[in-house]
């Protein structure tokens, strides 16, 4: 979605009052709010969600990674990442943006992007760039060196996030193909999921995996973060309508339904398999539901969302078991099975439930379920392939500069003390 589809949506939904080139203060008000909500998803939402899941001796390392990513991605964004994602790339425009907006050149208090100030579009999109990079943390948690993490995040943001974002929302080739990704199934969740998986494989498992249980040190923190993610996601998906209108409202409603259905789907699986549902299961299913509804959230109706959410709960439940148990990959906090698989599932199911007959907004001219599915598959595979390749190369390069992992001794001692000279809890 975003800018690329804005015009279409505007034609369909926006009331006659606003036209694309005057400021609409109501849209602005909602985008201001949405930006706050999406930042809230990362800080403190995701930070706490992840922080609770790791061991007591690594809680700060995860919080630190999330905050540091917020800081450095902001720098990158202002300097060049926004430009690479959203400005015109000239001859390369199918693949990546240009340098025209580097250092936010030409952006003034009066610049508009659609009906809202360009500054809020910049800030809103920046919060997406932040959370995407922060999601990856779950893949290499509890063992990556901090300096390697910083370097990795810089390169990944420039080489993976910026181009993929441009493909889909910046006017690149996927936008041209009619690829549907309302709020980031591919741009956010699939890229983060694949990157986390590759990172987990390149770094290798945590010492003790898979024999040693590694229980979350504080589920209340995780559940607190989960609640914040849910609430913040209203801005993530609802804000992606870029207007305070029926499209935003419907996006919010289906987001909420998707989250609930994901939670209930996962809960049902646990209840059936183990006789007891767990709170970690419920919140994981909720996040899976949210990640899955994300690409579809501007295109489907509430009943579609219910089905998509339930599917997310069940599929991501199995995906988690397969990655951890069958493939024995230590994607520590299950980023790939939840976000990568969820995002992919959502991209595909979106092509089904966008159908007007199934309560969706209907296909674009000349598109049908089959052709849309084809486009979605192409976008999905291209995103996954590029992310996997680039992530792997980046890690290898970073590994040449500085070791990726801490020593076993430091891992046992914990990253908090050895990387940051701090402990999470004292007297």
């Amino acid at each position: 979605m975003k800018r690329a589809i804005l015009i279409a949506v505007a034609g369909l939904l926006v009331s006659g009052m606003a036209s694309a080139d005057t400021l609409d203060k109501a849209d602005t008000a909602w985008l201001l709010t949405s930006t706050a909500l999406v930042l809230f998803m990362t800080l403190p939402g995701l930070a706490l969600f992840y922080g609770g899941l790791v061991g007591r001796r690594n809680v700060l390392s995860v919080l630190m990674q999330c905050f540091t990513i917020a800081g450095i991605v902001t720098f990158l964004w202002v300097i060049v990442q926004y430009s690479l994602a959203f400005s015109n790339g000239g001859a390369l425009n199918q693949w990546v943006g240009g340098f025209g907006s580097a250092f936010l050149a030409g952006v003034t208090v009066d610049s508009l992007s659609g009906t809202a100030p360009e500054t809020i579009f910049i800030a809103f999109q920046l919060t997406f760039a932040i959370i995407t990079c922060a999601l990856i943390v779950g893949g290499f948690a509890e063992r990556m060196r901090f300096s390697a993490m910083v370097l990795f995040s810089v390169l990944w943001s420039l080489l993976v996030y910026a181009p993929v974002c441009h493909w889909v929302w910046g006017g690149g080739w996927l936008a041209d193909m009619g690829f549907l990704d309302f709020a980031g199934g591919a741009v956010v969740h699939l890229t983060a999921g694949v990157a986390a998986l590759v990172a987990a494989m390149v770094l290798g498992p945590r010492t003790g995996f898979p024999q040693k249980p590694m229980p979350p040190h504080s589920l209340p923190l995780t559940v607190a973060g989960a609640g914040m993610l849910w609430v913040g996601w209203f801005g993530f998906n609802g804000g992606s309508a870029l207007a305070a209108d029926g499209a935003a409202a419907m996006a919010l409603l289906v987001t909420h339904v998707g989250a609930s259905a994901g939670a209930m789907g996962w809960m049902a699986m646990e209840w059936i398999k183990f006789g007891k549902p767990s709170v970690l299961g419920v919140v994981t299913g909720m996040v899976a539901g949210l990640g899955t509804i994300t690409p579809a959230s501007g295109f489907v109706g509430p009943i579609g969302a219910l089905i998509i959410g339930l599917a997310a709960g069940v599929v991501c439940f199995y995906a988690t078991r397969i990655i951890k148990r069958v493939l024995v990959i230590d994607d520590s906090l299950d980023v790939f099975p939840v976000h990568g698989v969820g995002g992919s599932l959502g991209l595909l199911l979106c092509a089904v439930f966008v159908s007007a007959g199934l309560g969706g907004m209907g296909y674009a001219d000349g598109m049908g379920m089959g052709s849309q599915l084809g486009v979605q598959a192409v976008g999905l595979l291209a995103t996954a392939a590029w992310t996997a390749l680039a992530t792997w190369v980046i890690l290898k390069v970073v590994g040449l500069i500085t070791p990726l992992r801490v020593s076993e001794e430091d891992e046992i001692e914990g990253l908090d003390l050895t990387q940051h000279e701090e402990r999470g809890y004292s007297r």
């Binding site: 229980p215 767990s278 970690l280």
Partner: protein
Amino acid sequence: MKLVMAIIKPFRLDHVRNTLSDLGINGMTVSEVQGFGRQRGHTELYRGAEYMVDFIPKTKVEVACTDELAERVVEAIMDSGKTGKVGDGKVFVLDLEEAYRVRTGESGDSAL
């Protein structure tokens, strides 16, 4: 003097304490410990997989008492700590060479 050290189930602590008070014991020191033993641990769920946790929260009670009282202290703990199920715990008796009260400097039985 003896030092009686008992490992019991946490929720029996109140009962044990009351029984000891009845005996005239007016001091004890309690701490949280983890026990391994015949009693099986429990399974825990973690994102669609179960794993085994084999330590069990227990409470350690330490009571210093006179030689005369020692036997009755042991009995009292055995009675009040008992549920009859595996994992009820142990009572250990050690010889206590000397005891002092920090506040007064008293030593021996009167320090207890």
